[in-house]
């Protein structure tokens, strides 16, 4: 586990995080190249790869810009970021791209010409900032945790989450909602809330998941969930998850093709750009199938380890920070990336039901990438300003 870190004064830039992101970017470009070369009918290969490269460039600029903000500036920025994010989430309900809606059933995309943009991706870092600020303020005002105080904190955190959940519900974007809840979960744990609340809470969560599975697996349960507003497509995803081979409809077909692609990769894979299995939307949500097919178990495991390394480095930076605000931010970012990775890879290999969630730094698509890069930017700014912060103390937390 983490012990006292040592950061050299002149090492304000965390090269190991940059290394991880760079590797992921290369894997992403390669995978998009493979997907685009095998799936005719979509855009050209060059166009797919180049436009993704442009997004990396924009993302890199975002990192550099964010790194310039110190924690004080970030702190001031929070309400604006959250406000703008919320406004965009609201606006997209009316201005959503009709063609994306037809394809995905979710009203979560803006489209201006060829350029598409998903505001919820930008909302994620804004939300992390807001919740980090809320926790920091709360813990500062009530340094000693009491059960009553903890409930109050939970209430505040939920209050800032609620509008997002409502707006995402209106957008019909269940997958993204879960990401926000995962971030919230991570922050609840780190915020210092008593185990007397967390313990039963976690048990309750497990019980709810179990109940949910029981509900979706039975007919009356489904009728009940239907009254709560769950849609047919969500049930279909559960069905294909439970019986991947038996469902030839769109959902099941996608999953089964992905499983075939990954499964047929075997130990070492088919080799770069050798694909026998067509997986729908593998350039985005199903991109892990490319890696799994081309490079097999070895490649897939290395990719997972690369993510592990990235999260390890981020946690390491968090341990080295002297600033609680930063610590909460980085926890949020870690939770965001962790959830994306587990959900995306998990759904590609039939571990978790499908939701439309991209694989961080690899899936095609600009807004998700920018959202993740902003997250990286926040982590890097932490290290960048660690030494120079006027608030820094000699002591580090340990």
């Amino acid at each position: 586990m983490f012990r006292r870190g040592s950061v050299t004064t002149d090492n304000r830039i965390d090269w190991s995080i940059i290394f991880c992101v760079l590797m992921l970017a290369l894997i992403g470009l390669g995978s998009i190249y493979v997907a685009a070369s095998h799936d005719t009918g979509t855009t050209s290969v060059v166009k797919a790869v180049v436009s993704q490269l442009i997004w990396y460039a924009i993302g890199t600029i975002a990192i550099v810009v964010i790194m310039q903000f110190d924690s004080e500036q970030l702190w001031k920025l929070v309400p604006y970021a959250y406000g703008v994010g919320l406004f965009l989430l609201f606006a997209v309900l009316f201005l959503y791209s009709r063609s994306y809606f037809v394809q995905t059933g979710a009203k979560s995309w803006f489209a201006i010409g060829p350029f598409t943009f998903q505001p919820s991706e930008i909302m994620k870092p804004a939300y992390i900032l807001m919740e980090a600020k809320v926790i920091t303020e709360h813990n500062h005002n009530q340094p000693v945790h009491t059960i009553r105080g903890d409930w109050k904190l939970i209430g505040k955190l939920l209050l800032w989450t609620l509008p997002i959940v409502i707006l995402l519900r209106l957008q019909n974007d269940f997958g993204t909602t879960v990401v926000f809840l995962a971030i919230l979960g991570g922050l609840l744990i780190v915020s210092g809330i008593s185990w007397k609340i967390l313990g039963p809470g976690i048990l309750l969560f497990i019980a709810m998941v179990a109940t949910a599975v029981a509900l979706v697996a039975t007919k009356p349960g489904r009728v009940f969930l239907g009254h709560l507003g769950f849609q047919d497509y969500q049930f279909a995803r559960i069905d294909s998850w439970l019986h991947p081979a038996s469902d030839s409809s769109n959902q099941g077909f996608q999953l089964w093709q992905s499983m075939k692609a990954v499964g047929s990769g075997g130990l070492t894979g088919t080799g770069f750009n050798v694909s026998k299995v067509y997986v729908p939307v593998r350039e985005s949500d199903m991109i892990f199938s490319v890696m799994g097919e081309n490079f097999g178990f070895v490649g897939g495991t290395l990719l997972i380890l690369l993510y592990f390394l990235l999260i390890y480095e981020m946690i390491k930076v968090t341990f080295q920070t002297k600033n609680v605000f930063y610590a909460y931010i980085s926890t949020g970012v870690i939770m965001m990336i962790l959830f994306h990775v587990v959900e995306n890879i998990g759904m590609s290999i039939d571990l978790i039901p499908m939701t439309g969630i991209p694989l961080p730094f690899i899936s095609q698509g600009g807004s998700a990438l920018i959202g993740n890069m902003i997250g990286i930017g926040l982590i890097m700014s932490m290290q960048y300003h660690n030494q120079s912060s006027m608030f820094s103390t000699e002591k580090q937390f340990s």
Binding site: F297, L351, F397
Partner: protein, 687 residues
């Protein structure tokens, strides 16, 4: 906010309070890190399960391939006349085709149809409202718009949602059925009706140059759409031949409804052309040829990996008919021109080779007495049964000879009115008994004696005729007479190689109708087709062989060099259906009678009008008292062969329901037909 921030941090800094150190963050962060490790381990475990444990299973699933075969159309065989003149050919027409890919979805077809609809115009007259609605709803955006107008939309499964949307659009309330919408819907309908990996015609008729150019230009935006060729039937010698050759279904009408399942089982596709009547139908397997076969290998994603043409296909073989096109065309004109007014219901004429059964010409028209409208119906010769009259008397005489009621040397009976109870039946020339005279069998044929034939029938049935006494004859008479008639083809199918032949009409028998048994003997009861007359006359002309009539002479390949008639692959050999047993002396009685009909010395001979035809004609005329719509009519017929000594052609004519004063229509037509025959088909022998 900024102030607070400042205060908050400054205070902390000033107080030099290491907040993080005392917080629970490090421990809880470690918890999260453990969570990361656990989750990633689960991912790797599942990955190992999928790739290492089940890897081989998935590998074999992926390497599975499917084979499927596509069939390509080949040109249909052509039809030629006896002299090699092209009667039914193929003409290539430019067409817009669509090949459905293995992975095409409805929404893709919607897009393609919409784009194509902006470029080409297709007929929409057969389009249903449902099809229009299906097109509209194929666009998910359109379906989505209807969401609020459909009850419980969200609860329905996708199929039900679509069905409900189609139902709503069908009413026309949602979107007006404009010409443009219909056009696109018709195109969409053609596309969605096609099988995957098979090519269907979107437009195959009157495709303009502009349409071809635009489709070519935009084909990359419309996957599967191409400019192709459609083979249409053409009739270089005139459409008249169609009534014999029949027609093929168009791509538009598709396979005929009544045979669709059978044809699909034989490997036809839904919109394929298939012979639908007459020769095109009966020789379908020959004309169709064999389609090219391409094996397609699909991988587990239904993508085409490999295409191998296994079999090039063979164009359909050609038919060479026994029909002489020139004569056929003349015959059609003559038949058409021979119309009498009144209640006449048509004219039919067949020319047949008595030795082979080959049909040299066959023409017919139907006439509607109410409207005077005359419709070509060459096939009427085989499917219209007519009460022909005395023309059948040759068969009656044969029956008497075979029954030993008369013999070639002893056949004389007295022509006299036949009285049974109150009914009197007479020959045409002896209505009141003033012309009673002895006639032998040949003379009876020459003068067309009804009395003689009735007496033969009564003798055959072993009925002892007493003038004025009731006709207590055995009803076996019907069977006896019909048995003999059948041997000549009268009252049985001739066996011609065309579908839809009639066996004639048999009147009710039994003792209640016993009077009709006498009518039967002189042809005034049962109905026969004109072709049956021809077969009957051929059997007499060739000495007793009932030949199977046929209209196809040869099946011939296509000459690969010039595309014209090629090698003979199969010749239809003359086929004897049955031999009518008769001695030369017996045969002679009948042929002599038929000769005398035209060339005899008796003043009552009935065919004298034909005596100036060269070469000589032997014939039997027929006159039947008939009724049309309750009005009395007369049906004239004629069966003949020529030359009398060495018959080469049989000509049979039927003209039902002429006005009652008509008498020479049949012989006049026969004269013209013989003239046309000798000039069109061959030069008269001995000339």
């Amino acid at each position: 906010m900024g102030n607070f921030f400042g205060r908050f941090f400054k205070k902390r800094t000033r107080a030099n309070q290491p907040e993080l150190a005392s917080s629970k963050i490090p421990f809880r962060l470690n918890l999260i890190f453990i969570l990361v490790g656990v989750l990633f381990a689960v991912l790797i475990w599942k990955l190992a399960d999928l790739q290492l444990i089940q890897g081989n299973y998935f590998k074999s699933t992926v390497n599975q391939t499917n084979n499927s075969t596509t069939y390509g159309n080949v040109p249909r065989g052509q039809i030629y006349d006896a002299t090699g003149k092209l009667l039914v050919g193929n003409k290539p027409e430019r067409a817009i085709t669509y090949t459905k890919g293995p992975k095409v979805k409805t929404v893709d077809m919607y897009q393609t149809a919409t784009r194509l609809g902006n470029i080409i115009k297709v007929p929409t007259d057969r389009l249903t409202k449902k099809q229009i609605a299906q097109y509209y709803v194929a666009n998910p955006k359109n379906q989505e718009k209807l969401k609020n107008r459909i009850k419980n939309y969200a609860q329905l499964d996708p199929d039900q949602q679509q069905a409900a949307a189609v139902k709503l659009v069908k009413t026309g309330d949602v979107v007006p059925f404009t010409a443009d919408l219909k056009n696109k819907a018709a195109i969409f309908n053609s596309m969605s009706g096609a099988y995957r990996l098979s090519t269907t015609y979107i437009k195959y008729d009157r495709v303009s140059n502009q349409e071809v150019a635009e489709v070519g230009e935009h084909s990359s935006e419309m996957p599967g759409v191409q400019v192709g060729t459609n083979w249409m039937r053409e009739y270089p010698d005139g459409d008249g031949i169609k009534t014999i050759t029949g027609t093929v279904t168009s791509n538009k009408t598709g396979l005929p409804d009544n045979r669709v399942n059978q044809l699909l089982a034989q490997g036809y596709s839904q919109n394929e052309s298939v012979g639908n009547s007459n020769l095109e139908e009966s020789y379908e397997p020959v004309l169709r040829g064999s389609k090219s076969q391409t094996d397609i290998k699909l991988n587990s994603n239904n993508q085409i990996i490999k295409q191998v043409q296994k079999y090039k296909g063979n164009p359909g073989d050609n038919l060479q008919l026994t029909i002489n096109a020139k004569f056929q065309s003349d015959l059609q004109k003559l038949v058409k021109g021979a119309q009498a007014g009144g209640n006449a219901t048509g004219t039919y004429a067949v020319a047949m080779n008595p030795h082979t059964g080959g049909i040299i010409g066959m023409a017919g028209v139907d006439r509607d007495p109410k409207t005077n409208k005359v419709t070509e119906n060459d096939i009427g010769n085989i499917n219209t049964a007519i009460t022909m009259g005395s023309v059948v008397k040759g068969a009656t005489v044969y029956g008497a000879l075979r029954s030993n009621v008369i013999t070639p040397t002893s056949s004389t009976l007295t022509d006299m009115p036949i009285k049974n109870g109150g009914t009197i039946k007479t020959s045409w020339f002896n209505k009141n008994g003033n012309a009673n005279m002895p006639v032998d069998a040949s003379t009876a044929l020459e003068v067309s004696s009804n009395s003689y034939m009735m007496q033969l029938a009564m003798k055959e049935a072993k009925f002892n005729y007493v003038p004025g006494a009731p006709l207590n004859m055995s009803p076996d008479s019907f069977n006896i007479q019909r048995g003999f008639f059948n041997q000549f083809g009268l009252g049985v199918k001739t066996g011609i190689d065309l579908p839809g032949e009639s066996a004639g009409i048999e009147g009710p028998g039994g003792f209640a109708n016993i009077g009709k048994a006498l009518d039967e003997s002189f042809g005034n009861y049962d109905g026969y087709t004109t072709l049956q007359l021809a077969q009957y006359m051929s059997t007499i002309a060739n000495g007793g062989y009932r030949m199977k009539p046929h209209i196809v002479q040869n099946v011939r390949a296509t000459n690969p060099k010039n595309g014209e008639l090629g090698a003979v692959k199969n010749t239809i050999m003359p086929q004897t259906l049955n031999q009518v047993p008769m001695t030369p002396a017996e045969s002679n009685v009948i042929t002599r009678g038929f000769y005398q009909v035209v060339h005899g010395n008796n003043k009552y001979k009935t065919g004298g009008a034909l005596s100036d035809i060269s070469p000589e004609v032997s014939a039997k005329t027929g006159t039947a008292q008939t009724f049309y719509n309750g009005q009395q009519t007369v049906t004239l017929s004629l069966a003949s062969y020529s030359p009398s000594t060495n018959p080469q052609v049989v000509i049979a004519i039927a003209m039902p329901n002429l006005p009652i004063d008509a008498e020479s229509n049949n012989t006049n037509l026969a004269k013209d037909i013989y003239k046309a025959y000798w000039s069109d088909v061959q030069n008269a022998p001995g000339k």
